[in-house]
């Protein structure tokens, strides 16, 4: 029982991170119908910038709390600029091009960002340590550390904030309008380009936060870290129903749980025939099963609530 509880906590922590990254995919998809393949690399750049800023600030004798917050802000700012530029350079000129054209530029952007990061930060793994001690706590037989608690709480807050932003602010209303019908939105005086830019910047800011939290949790950063994370988050977004904010959150958390329960119990369930090496197979099978019965994901509907 303790082990099951621990596995659920593992899944929740992992899932919160997936959800945060998945939000970035789903926001862009909701508005543009475009898979922003470079999103995972934005997460990586966020982590790298945060690391550099944190080291510099700590070296300049800033108070630890201040240094952490400032470095996060800097990472968010850089990622927002990056997200904005990616959209301007690689996606906007292709807005009326065949649907797969921006997919290829997205892959190109992804390769460029990865190799730029390799040239700037080198090929080696970097240590990402917070200037606080990260204590483990025992909760009902399971171990949780501070960073993990913070990850889950921050993720919850961000999701709540985003829902509020989309449903109760003017910016959110224009975003929903563009998602619903861009032409009509233009007629109503919405500046589509601005809305799209804002969406990209918001998504990238979330990516920076996710990058920071992932690095703090695992303690290492590397220029290659964005690829797998992006892929998993994209899967999560589709599982929940891509284009749907609640779907991204649900999909992220579910994928985290599926993975950790899968890795923990596949062996026992199949009598040792399949082990934890089939963790990803298990996750993909669940995804395929869900999509067969609900072809637009768990929460995606024909008239999806888009953001």
């Amino acid at each position: 029982m303790d082990i099951l509880f621990q596995q659920i906590i593992n899944g929740l922590v992992q899932g919160s991170v997936y959800a945060l990254v998945a939000l970035g995919y789903t926001m862009v998809y909701g508005i543009l119908g475009l898979i922003n393949f470079a999103h995972g690399e934005v997460v990586m750049i966020g982590a790298m910038i945060a690391l550099t800023a944190l080291q510099a600030l700590l070296a300049a004798a800033f108070a630890p709390v201040l240094a952490v917050l400032l470095s996060l802000m800097i990472a968010m700012a850089v990622c927002m600029a990056l997200g904005y530029s990616i959209e301007r350079i690689a996606y906007r000129p292709l807005r009326n091009a065949p649907r797969l054209a921006p997919l290829i530029t997205a892959i190109g952007v992804s390769i460029v960002l990865q190799n730029l990061a390799m040239m700037i930060w080198g090929r080696e793994y970097h240590s990402f340590t917070l200037p606080f001690s990260n204590a483990s706590h025992q909760i009902g037989g399971a171990m949780v550390n501070d960073v993990q608690i913070v990850i889950v709480i921050v993720a919850l807050f961000i999701m709540a904030g985003l829902m509020w932003l989309v449903h109760h602010t003017r910016t959110g209303r224009t975003m929903r309008a563009v998602a619903e019908n861009p032409a009509a939105a233009t007629l109503m005086g919405v500046d589509i380009n601005r809305v799209i830019s804002v969406t990209f910047m918001l998504g990238s800011a979330l990516a920076a936060i996710a990058g920071f939290m992932v690095s703090a949790n695992y303690g290492i950063v590397h220029y290659y870290m964005g690829f797998m994370l992006g892929l998993k988050a994209f899967t999560a977004a589709v599982l929940g129903g891509i284009g749907n904010l609640r779907g991204a959150m649900l999909g992220g958390v579910l994928l985290g749980l599926i993975e950790s329960l899968g890795a923990g119990y596949i062996g026992d369930l199949t009598g040792g025939f399949l082990g934890s090496h089939y963790q990803d197979v298990f996750a993909f099978f669940v995804l395929i099963a869900v999509l067969i019965f609900r072809p637009s994901g768990l929460l995606g509907e024909k008239l999806a609530e888009r953001a």
Binding site: A101, T105, N115
Partner: protein, 364 residues
């Protein structure tokens, strides 16, 4: 007119036959080997072109069929099981098994559209790779991550493509022989693609791509036609995979990663979806470009700055990524798009249509 065309074909044929020797003389064997790989990838890209270009189904796990073909060849023609079946049995068998996998993938995903299909195919590709990587226990089938080595070379009767021979004083090496073999298969694949393109089936694919509901209203059995697209695409992938295994002499699961699927997709889109010439061009460019950059990155810096400023290897993939972006911005429909697609594209150039559901129209 007819005479003119056939003489054009003759020139092309001579050029293709002479190509490996020209490449060899200018750049060496390494580039002939790259040409061999380019041909394998052209076959792959043409197969994917049927699924993505003709039928409009976005497939991100296409490399799975390549791996099925490769492993079929490897398992039946290596010391792994002590089987050494001849190439003319194993290659068609690999294609057939890959075709079966194509149907297996197609069947449950028929209802899915667009990006949902993309993620499921991606998952399918990963599932196949993970199974190949792990089927060494409890029963050892694929040898797991160690891969299968000492695979039989491609040979027919007593003639092996894997060794060189002298012919009228001309030394013909294994890379050259493979070139001709792969060229033959590529031409076959091109021929089949062209015939399909202009057939009832080809038109049905295009109809489904353009509007699935309208297509089924016109009496097209969309289910079977879509399955056929998956099956045909997979078959080409399987052939290419078998040839790859025989050429390389070694297969391991790491050759069939997601990045490979993405690369093949890039070839199709960058070259020009739905157009055979474009896809061939895309295949050649995407295999050759990273290798060109490998050689160019150092010397060009030397020439420009007098010294090597940035590691050539770092620069290579960076330039490759930039090239992908620039080509797509410059020619959004691909370098050499099909005439039909070009027409569609020109029609709404720069205009935001009212009937669009999203800014990126999902129907395109």
């Amino acid at each position: 007119m007819k005479l003119h065309r056939s003489s054009g074909h003759l020139t092309l044929a001579i050029a293709l036959l002479a190509l490996p020797f020209i490449i060899d003389a200018l750049f060496g064997h390494g580039w002939v080997r790259i040409a061999d790989f380019a041909l394998l990838y052209i076959m792959l890209a043409l197969g994917l072109n049927i699924v993505v270009g003709y039928a409009g189904l976005l497939d991100l796990g296409y490399i799975a069929f390549f791996s099925v073909g490769a492993y079929t060849y490897a398992l039946l023609g290596s010391p792994q099981f002590g089987l050494h079946w001849p190439m003319y049995v194993v290659l068609p068998l690999g294609a057939l098994i890959a075709c079966g996998f194509g149907v297996l993938l197609g069947a449950p995903t028929l209802k899915l559209r667009g990006d949902y299909l993309a993620i499921v195919t991606l998952g399918f590709g990963e599932i196949i790779r993970i199974f190949l990587n792990n089927l060494n226990a409890p029963v050892n089938i694929t040898n797991g991550p160690q891969g299968i080595s000492a695979i039989d070379p491609l040979q027919v009767g007593g003639f092996s493509f894997g060794s060189s021979f002298e012919w009228m004083g001309l030394r013909v090496d294994d890379v050259h022989l493979h070139y001709y073999l792969f060229l033959g298969f590529t031409l076959l694949v091109i021929f089949v693609s062209r015939r399909l393109e202009d057939s009832r089936i080809g038109r049905a694919w295009v109809a489904i791509r353009e509007d699935e509901v309208a297509a089924s209203a016109m009496g097209i059995n969309t289910r079977n036609i879509k399955l056929l697209a998956f099956a045909m695409g997979a078959t080409f992938g399987g052939i290419s995979g078998g040839l790859f295994a025989g050429f390389q002499g070694f297969v391991s699961p790491e050759s069939f990663s997601l990045m490979e699927s993405i690369m093949v997709l890039c070839m199709v889109v960058l070259g020009g979806m739905g157009n055979i010439g474009g896809v061939v061009l895309g295949g050649v460019l995407l295999v050759a470009l990273p290798e060109l950059f490998r050689n160019a990155a150092g010397p060009v810096q030397q020439a420009l700055f007098g010294k090597v400023v940035v590691d050539p290897e770092s620069l290579r993939m960076l330039m490759f990524g930039l090239a992908l972006i620039l080509v797509m911005l410059w020619r959004p429909a691909g370098l050499w798009p099909s005439t039909q697609r070009r027409r569609e594209f020109d029609a709404d150039d720069g205009v935001l249509h009212q009937e669009q559901e999203t800014v990126y129209d999902a129907s395109k």
